[in-house]
Symmetry: C2
Subunit: 421 residues, 2 copies
């Protein structure tokens, strides 16, 4: 039963994706405009369904943080609608000619951007992800299958219904965006084996969710994994810049994936630089977890810190906590970052171009910074527009994933009867 239900749903998505692949940008934008309007017009209904999720969440004893992530307010609904309107303004990537090449026999080969096809999004908690992902997939010509967390089921259901209404109001097949209509976990397992219908899965959520999806899926998965980002202060760093970048990267918004969790300082300069930076971090209420060499420097300077375990350096705190280590060289910093980091965003502060280039080349991350804060890793900051996430994978897309990263390409070859000899 369940297997049939999910298989049929995925089949419809594939059919819808064939149609959606050639839908003109204006038509897609019409749908997005309708969706934004319908969201605002249905504010009361959304709040009502959301209240059910909140009540169930409280009864289940969800944490305040989780309840807050779950909660809609009129203002958050307005923001969600405005987010959809921003996607209207972004250029449609479909049809873009990436390269063109004339074969010596006269054939014209063009490499043209096309939608991926059917994308499955598996996500937790925040129900606004339903709308963000649906709008981005739709604008890039992909059919979307959405599988939200059970704790947001009522909210996700009404949002999914509003999307269907917006599609139907524009005479578009509602199978272009479908939600899995059950909280049964078996549905996800079925979904992850349907590689004949689903071209790609994007999981968004905690480590457990991502591991489970990766283990089970038989189609490609693009992971939006944790952000264990590091900052390395090389011996030639200007002290003021080192302090500013460290404070910004850790404290400006500690709950996001491009905030740093690890700080490494080169030994030769640590006696002066580390206390200077640490004092400012403490003033910003950051808890420092220092490995032994760093701890002895901080102790001598009377700066409070606790002793770090090795596990701390793998940790994504998403909070005002920072692991601190001392390294002998840029090479050692690169090694440590490649060992503990999640390949998201890492920075060096240095006035030595050779060291900086070594770092930029040697650190294996989606984004590497020289004398700038890691906090810039973001679709808007990179000029890509709204993002569906930040890929910590290396295949297909790496770093911020915007509309263009939700496409693939095909080769179109136009001839006059050419045959191969």
């Amino acid at each position: 039963m369940m297997e049939q239900l999910i298989t049929d749903l995925a089949k419809h998505s594939l059919e819808a994706s064939r149609f959606l692949a050639t839908l003109p940008a204006e038509k897609k934008n019409d749908v997005l405009g309708t969706l934004a309007d319908f969201l605002e017009a249905n504010t009361d209904g959304i709040l009502e369904e959301n209240a059910k999720d909140l009540a169930e969440g409280e009864a289940k004893g969800l944490s305040n943080a989780m309840i807050d992530r779950l909660r809609f307010t009129p203002d958050r609904i307005k923001q969600m609608a405005d987010g959809v309107r921003k996607i209207i303004d972004l250029p449609d990537p479909v049809g873009e000619v990436i390269e063109e090449h004339k074969h010596e026999n006269g054939m014209i080969l063009s490499k043209v951007r096309v939608p991926i096809g059917v994308i499955g999004i598996i996500f937790e908690s925040r129900p606004n992800v339903t709308i963000d992902c649906a709008a981005l997939c739709f604008k890039s010509g992909n059919a979307a299958i959405l599988r939200g967390g059970s704790e947001a089921f009522h909210s996700n259901t009404i949002l999914s219904n509003i999307i269907s209404e917006a599609l139907e109001a524009n005479d578009i097949d509602p199978a272009c965006v479908q939600m899995i209509p059950t909280t049964d976990r078996a549905a996800t397992s079925v979904l992850l084996k349907l590689d004949q219908y689903i071209n790609c899965i994007i999981p968004r959520g905690g480590e457990g969710l991502i591991r489970a999806v990766t283990q089970q899926a038989t189609m490609p998965v693009i992971k939006h994994y944790k952000g264990v980002c590091s900052l390395f202060i090389e011996e030639t760093a200007k002290p003021e810049m080192a302090v500013n970048v460290a404070i910004n990267a850790k404290c400006q918004r500690p709950g996001v994936c491009n905030a740093i969790e690890n700080l490494f300082v080169q030994a030769s300069a640590a006696q002066t630089l580390l206390p200077e930076i640490a004092k400012e971090l403490i003033a910003h209420k950051v808890e420092l977890r220092a490995e032994s060499k760093a701890k002895s420097i901080l102790d001598k300077a009377n700066i409070p810190c606790i002793e770090a375990t090795e596990e701390d350096f793998f940790e994504e705190y998403i909070d005002l906590i920072l692991s601190v280590g001392i390294v002998e060289s840029t090479e050692e910093a690169i090694q440590q970052i490649n060992k503990y980091g999640s390949g998201h965003s890492d920075a060096i502060v240095s006035e030595n171009q050779k060291a900086a280039e070594k770092f930029l080349n040697g650190v294996d991350a989606s984004t590497v910074y020289w004398n700038a804060s890691t906090r810039f890793t973001d679709g808007y900051e990179f000029g890509l527009g709204a993002e569906i996430g930040i890929s910590t994978d290396k295949l297909h897309a790496r770093g911020p994933m915007g509309l263009r990263e939700l496409t693939t390409y095909k080769f179109k070859v136009v001839g006059t009867g050419q045959i191969r000899s």
Copy 2:
């Protein structure tokens, strides 16, 4: 034991990949030059080891075709060495700046091509794949783990030893290219779970191998799946062009993946066009398997054919056999091709631009042709140089995969102390 052996091997590959990622092109080319020379110099040794595989294969009762695929000759060894020399001449994709962008705060963002990291290649039969894949991975800065078929174990082992010697002769870590040193099947299962060390798996072989790899692998897989390619003769097709393209696409080299297996003719023109094409195909010794409507036309014209089953249209014959069907419209042709094809290469012959554009947009394949033979889908023909295969997947790389498709990118951001506000 096995698990430890394979895990250690993969760990070494990851370490080697960090080093290889920044190796200059000249140094990589030196290794490839040495490799080509060592291959020729070791011709006798290779033939000796190959003879062991051939003897075992004959004892096991392998087919003549398989024995031929397995066999080295002095000439084939020379060709293999020349293939490596051709890769020396290709530009190194690593370090290429794909895009550059200045942030309004003055930071320079560049999107730079970098190696993927560690690539596992799982392949069957032809031992020359060992050298092709090793050379392409190495030139693109990737560490390679090679897992060949057990029937070519002796040949693969000596080739792998020659690669190690070529690396060592240039003072390069031999872990840059490693072969799984056992025919135990359990080794593959271990390998496919090591996503912390291996970034990507490329299986090359039959359907069974590819399915098994896709089911088990926890890292991304780029499939080089079967080529069920189709040709559609639209009603406005010039008869002579239709015949030429059909003959070339089917008969010029029937054993390759870009040869056609299905022919569809539009009903309105089938009475004249189909017999004309079919006569020529028969003259080229092609067996025709026709669905009922096509069969009745061929029967009337006294052209020999057998009745096709639906399964025939899914079949990759790789032989002088062709399934033939009649469709009412271009839309139906698109539907049939999307249903039966493997997303490799499909062509339309037509003088009607609207129909052709519908076909090029609607057929979901790596390469779509208008008035040209499907036989052109190939790295050299597309200007990519030597290819590691032809991807029938849609993520990361689609169609012929050359050196550039063996890379990913990272963002390098260079600032002067910028922080996010």
